[in-house]
Symmetry: C2
Subunit: 319 residues, 2 copies
């Protein structure tokens, strides 16, 4: 499972960072999911290998424009590029009316089905390889985290090894798959020796805007990764007059208390400069978080891609 | 008067070209105007010297998303960046309801006045140094051209020269300004020698999507520049199944018949590649237009800036 950040700035875009958008990719195949869709998310996609045709579902954390204004353009471009597959949109109910108003005024025809799911009434959405649960957060408007959990964790049969032993595909394989031992060529083959027990299901929690990280305590249980906004450091945040957000310190302290192995911070106020020799900079956010958290700490940047492997390790990979 | 192209692609953005947006700059000062606001127009502005605080008015040619979906983000960012000056939005009436719906669902508060003017009921809008008239075009939806004409063409007094001659600011200057000759230091100073008669008013016609360039015949009278879409060449356009647009040939032939000195083509279908060794390319559009037009032909690209000087000459300048 990969995370590919498409936008990591809060409120307004900067030259280095677009407003919020995060692609979640299934382990194999080309299917992917989008969490939030700030303006110009479709433009960011042009600089990645992702195709809007392979997008399965979009999850919007809350109604603010820096998380949603890119939706109309993305839907329209998917139409112009010939998408036919249905697309699911999980979002606060208020978005449904806005999408309808947008389609009406701009005469936007979509040649594919857009299935709207109001997050208020749907706690969990099931895809092919993932289940996505919504968790209410605390912000100026209703806001949600989306928890991506791997499914289809049934044990898999080591068919390569069976074939090497000359065991033909057929009823014997079926019995082994069911947990039954079988006799072949005078030898007993133990089912347990041929079933790969799956790794622990991977779980990634992607927060929306939120001033109370502890609301994610249950969701973070058995999660390997938390992606969370850290809009401000404590010092700048107290002066910003902008309520409803988390500081780097607060998120890091929560992640430490939850014993989360990996924490990815994002959604930085545009006042934090990428050049860490200037002030305030992204370096201040890193330093503040590092003082409260001893796990693997990552600060997202646009086009950074992280892979969560089956062992639960999160590593940056080529995007 | 300058033109600064912010987006020159039709329908969908490409890596090289954003969807439509064009800044029109007054000759002096920082005031500027925006014609159309495709998604990510605010992102394009980050790479120019233009400030959204100096934006006086926005003119939308028609309701299609590639000309309008950037509005909410631009309005929101202006708010977050502290704009207080009122902003005028001239657009098809249907946009007013969409902007209201957008503000409502996303809880967007604007700390400045947004003055909406329905283009259907307002044929001409007067600014400080410019008058802007709307001209109906022909497209799949109602579409308009905006004609920018320089105003305040009253003669100006050569005060530098008067000061150099020692003539003190006061009643004598007032008489000269009114066209009266005066006596100073025993000499007669002729008003005509101190009044700069203005150049012909500059006029730039900026078309919206349009399949009938001749609708601009009257507007192009005494215009120095026409900016017009040339979405397709004749060959590609006939196969595209996309009605309501102009070919390079049609626009060029019209500009030739109207004896326009400068023609700037824009809004190219994304299938035309910038690399002119590939096919179809922007070079095809240039060649087709050049075969029908003998004036100065320019093909817009993102961030190209053109200056129309007082003599009516259009030249590319540093953006």
């Amino acid at each position: 499972m990969d995370l590919l950040f498409l936008g990591t700035s809060s409120g307004v875009p900067t030259k280095q960072r677009n407003v919020t958008g995060l692609a979640v990719l299934e382990e194999s195949g080309s299917a992917w999911y989008l969490v939030d869709c700030g303006e110009a998310t479709q433009h960011q996609l042009l600089h990645t290998s992702l195709s809007v045709n392979d997008l399965v579902a979009i999850f919007i954390t809350h109604v603010h424009g820096d998380h949603s204004y890119g939706l109309p353009g993305l839907l329209a471009s998917a139409a112009m590029l010939g998408r036919k597959r249905p697309l699911t949109l999980v979002a606060p109910a208020a978005l449904e009316g806005w999408i309808a108003a947008t389609r009406a005024f701009s005469e936007l025809y979509l040649p594919y089905e857009l299935n709207f799911v109001a997050v208020e009434t749907c706690a969990a959405w099931s895809g092919n390889k993932l289940q996505v649960e919504a968790v209410p957060l605390s912000h100026r408007v209703p806001s949600y985290a989306y928890v991506f959990t791997e499914t289809n964790q049934a044990p898999s049969l080591d068919t390569d090894r069976l074939a090497a032993l000359g065991v033909p595909a057929g009823p014997l394989w079926g019995q082994l798959r069911k947990g039954l031992d079988v006799v072949f060529g005078g030898q007993t083959l133990k089912s347990a020796d041929f079933l790969h027990h799956p790794h622990a299901p991977r779980r990634i929690v992607v927060g929306g805007d939120n001033d109370t990280p502890s609301l994610l305590a249950t969701a973070c249980n058995r999660a390997q990764v938390l992606v969370h906004e850290a809009t401000y450091t404590e010092e700048v945040g107290s002066k910003a007059g902008d309520v409803g957000h988390s500081t780097a310190a607060a998120v890091a302290a929560f992640a430490q208390s939850a014993e989360l192995p990996n924490l990815v911070l994002t959604h930085f106020s545009a006042r934090y400069q990428s050049d860490t020799t200037r002030s305030p900079s992204i370096g201040d956010i890193r330093a503040e978080a590092a003082a409260h958290y001893r796990g693997k700490l990552l600060l997202a940047e646009d086009f950074a891609r992280y892979r969560l492997d089956r062992a639960g390790e999160l590593k940056r990979v080529e995007s």
